[in-house]
C-alpha cells in the first residue's frame, strides 16, 4: 500500500540550498509548513504567528501564485514587513497592495461558496479527528482556564476544502478528546458527521504540522496518521509526546523532513518574526554538531511572550 503524496515533503527546491546549522524548533515548523503550501491555490490564513509566516514565506520562495485572504477583509495583500506587534490584521502594513479590501462578511461569502481551498490555523489542543480547542482548558465551564475563543477559526475549519493545523509537539496538545470543540475537525469521526452537523461536504482537516512531525488523516477512519518526522527526533520520541496513538505506517513509509535553509531562516528572522516573539516562545534549539542534530535548551529570550504575535 502506498500512501497519498503530501505536497512539499521530499524533493523540492530547498534541497539545493545552503542548509542552516542552528535553528529554533518553531522556525523549523514554519519552514516545513511553507514548503507544503500548494502554488496556484487560495488560502484563508489565521491572523498572525506560524500560519501567516508560513504562507508569506511560501509566497516568497516556493508558491508565488498563492493568494491568501484574512478575516479582516483582505484579499491578496502584499504586506509591508515586518508588522508592528499584534498589528497582523486590520492595520495598514498587512493590508498593503491588496487586490481587494472587503469586510468579514465578504470573506465569509467567498468561503461559503467555496472559493477558498486551504485554511491554516494554530491550535491549543487537537484530538485524533482534528477537532480544535481554543476556548477553555479543563472542565467547561466550572473548572480550568478561560481561553481566547475561536475567532475566525471556526469558519476557516468549516468551509475551507483542506484544513492545515499547526501546534507545538507536546503531550498536552495532542489529547484523546479536546476539552472543548471550538472549531470542527471530523467531530466523532463517523462517516458524514460534518455534513450531518450542517457543514459543507468535501471539507475537513488535511494535515497537522508540528515542530517535530507532519501528520495527515487516513481517508477511511479520518484519524490522524504520522507521515514524516524531523531529522532530530525518532518516531518513538514523536509518539512519546502525544496523549494518544496516531496511525503509524511502516517505518520505511515515514519520511524524514529536510532541515531549514539559510534563505528560509533569513526571511523569517529579518522580515517576519524580527522580535522573536513567535519562535523564541519555545525554548528548544537544534544545532548540527559532531555530524548529527542535537537538541539543546536555551534561556528564554527577552521579549518573548505568550500569544504576543
Amino acid at each position: 500500500m502506498s500512501l497519498p503524496k503530501l505536497h512539499g515533503i521530499g524533493e523540492g527546491p530547498w534541497r539545493g540550498e545552503e542548509r542552516a546549522s542552528a535553528f529554533a524548533e518553531r522556525e523549523f515548523q514554519v519552514c516545513i509548513a511553507a514548503r507544503m503550501v500548494e502554488d496556484g491555490s487560495t488560502y484563508w490564513v489565521a491572523g498572525g504567528g506560524g500560519p501567516m509566516y508560513s504562507v508569506l514565506m511560501a509566497k516568497r520562495l516556493y508558491a508565488p501564485d498563492v493568494v491568501y485572504v484574512t478575516e479582516d477583509g483582505l484579499v491578496g495583500a502584499e504586506p509591508l514587513l515586518p508588522f508592528d506587534p499584534v498589528m497582523t490584521l486590520a492595520a495598514a502594513r498587512p493590508a498593503y497592495r491588496a487586490l481587494m479590501w472587503t469586510t468579514m462578511s465578504g470573506i465569509g461569502d467567498q468561503s461559503g461558496v467555496g472559493y477558498l481551498d486551504y485554511g491554516v490555523l494554530n491550535t491549543l489542543q487537537v484530538d485524533p479527528y482534528g477537532n480544535v480547542n481554543s476556548t477553555w482548558l479543563g472542565s467547561y465551564p466550572s473548572e480550568g482556564r478561560r481561553m481566547n475563543g475561536p475567532g475566525g477559526a471556526d469558519t476557516i475549519a468549516s468551509v475551507c476544502r483542506r484544513l492545515v493545523l499547526m501546534t507545538d509537539h507536546q503531550r498536552r496538545k495532542f489529547v484523546e478528546r479536546v476539552d472543548f470543540i471550538s472549531s470542527p475537525g471530523y467531530l466523532d469521526g463517523s462517516p458524514r458527521a460534518r455534513e450531518l452537523a450542517g457543514l459543507p461536504e468535501d471539507t475537513g482537516p488535511y494535515a497537522v504540522i508540528t515542530n517535530w512531525a507532519v501528520f495527515d488523516f487516513e481517508a477511511e477512519s479520518r484519524r490522524l496518521r504520522l507521515r514524516a518526522i524531523a531529522p532530530f527526533v525518532t518516531v518513538e520520541q514523536v509518539l512519546g509526546e502525544m496523549g494518544f496513538r496516531p496511525i503509524v505506517p511502516a517505518p520505511d513509509e515515514i519520511q524524514v523532513l529536510d532541515p531549514p535553509t539559510e534563505r528560509e531562516l533569513t526571511i523569517l528572522r529579518t522580515e517576519m518574526d524580527v522580535r522573536g516573539q513567535f519562535t523564541d516562545a519555545a525554548p528548544d534549539w537544534v544545532v548540527w554538531e559532531d555530524n548529527q542534530w542535537k537538541m539543546v535548551k536555551r534561556e528564554p529570550q527577552k521579549g518573548a511572550g505568550p500569544g504576543f504575535i
Binding site: 478575516e71 479582516d72 477583509g73 483582505l74 509591508l80 508592528d84 506587534p85 499584534v86 498589528m87 490584521l89 486590520a90 492595520a91 495598514a92 502594513r93 493590508a95 498593503y96 497592495r97 491588496a98 479590501w101 472587503t102 469586510t103 468579514m104 462578511s105 465569509g108 461559503g112 476556548t135 467547561y140 465551564p141 466550572s142 480550568g144 482556564r145 478561560r146 481566547n148 475563543g149 475561536p150 475567532g151 475566525g152 477559526a153 471556526d154 469558519t155 468549516s158 468551509v159 472543548f180 470543540i181 471550538s182 472549531s183 470542527p184 467531530l187 458527521a193 460534518r194 455534513e195 450531518l196 452537523a197 450542517g198 457543514l199 459543507p200 511572550g305 505568550p306 500569544g307 504576543f308
Partner: protein, 331 residues
Amino acid sequence: MESSEKVLKVLAEGKGDYKLVDPDEHRRSIKQKPRGMRKKLMGLREAIERYVADGDYLVWEINYLQRGPAAAIREIIRQRKRNLWLGGKFTWVAVALLAEAGCCDRVDVGFFVSGPALTRLALEGRVKFYEYSNLVMTARLRAGAMGVSFLPVRSFGGTDGFKYSGAKLIEDPFTGKPVVVVPALNPDVALIHVHQADEFGNARIFGASISDVESALASRKVIITAEEIVSTEEIRHNPGLTKIPYFAVDAVVHQPFGSYPGECAGYYASDTEHVGEVFAAIYRDRIKEYLDKWVYSVSNEEDMFSKLVGVGKLNELRRRATIVATEGYRP
C-alpha cells in the same frame, strides 16, 4: 400544488441565553429616530452619558488596538457603566478591560485575549460567557441589519460552542439538508470609530473592515467617533465612500487619535510600548493598575494625551503611518 403540512424540524439546539430579537421591535425603535439632517456633534462624555445605559447590549467595531473606539471604551469605563452585555468578537483587550472594570456581566464570545482576570470572573460566575465565533457573531449582526430574526450559516455545526449558544440545527425546509441557523442580534448601542464623518453622521471608513455597516444598521443607538469632521459638501462630492448614512447615527464625536493606543490605518501607527503594556496587564493580572493609570487618573482623553503621551509621541505615530501605506486611505 400539493398541500404541505411539514413541520419545521429542529434537529439540535444550543442551551445558551441570547438577547431575543423581534425585528418588528427593532423597527419600532428605528421609527423613533429623527429623519431630518440634524447636527449631532457633541463631546465624548456627553455621547456616552446620553447613549450608553447600564444593562445595554454593546458592540464596537474592530477593537481597542485597531481602528477601534478606544477613547469611547475608556470613557465607558470612566463613567462606570454597569451590567453591559458585550459582543466580544474580533477584539484583543477590550473584553478583559471592561470586565475587570466591572462594566459587564455577560459576553458573547468571538475572540478576545483572556487571562487570569477573565478566568477568575468566569469561575466566580460574575461574568457569563456564551460561545460563538467572529464570523457567527458577524452573521448575527448581519441578520439584525437585514431586519430578519435569524440567518443560516455554513459553520458552527458540531462544535461545543454551538451547545452553549443560541443557535439551532434545523432541517432546511428547501433542500432537506441539516443547516445551522443563528439568532439575529440587535444591540442597544454600537461604537464605531471612523476616519471621516460630517456633523450629521454620514461616515467614511477607509480600508478593509469587519462589520461596521452591519453594526450600524442592527443597533438601536449608534455613536460615531471620527478622526476628522468633513463638510457635507465633501461627502456629496464622493458619495461612494459613505459607509454609514446619517439617519442611523445618534451622536458624532470629533475624536482625533480616538483609536490610541491602537493604529488607525492610514492615519497613525500603534503605540507599540503602550500595546505591550496593556497585554502585560492582562497576562500578569494587573488590569486595575492599567485602568488607574490610563482611565481613572485622567479626566478625559485630552488630559490623558497631555499628561501621559505628549505631542512628540503623537507626531511620531503620525509619521510612522505616513511612511507606510497611505494608498487607499484618502479620497
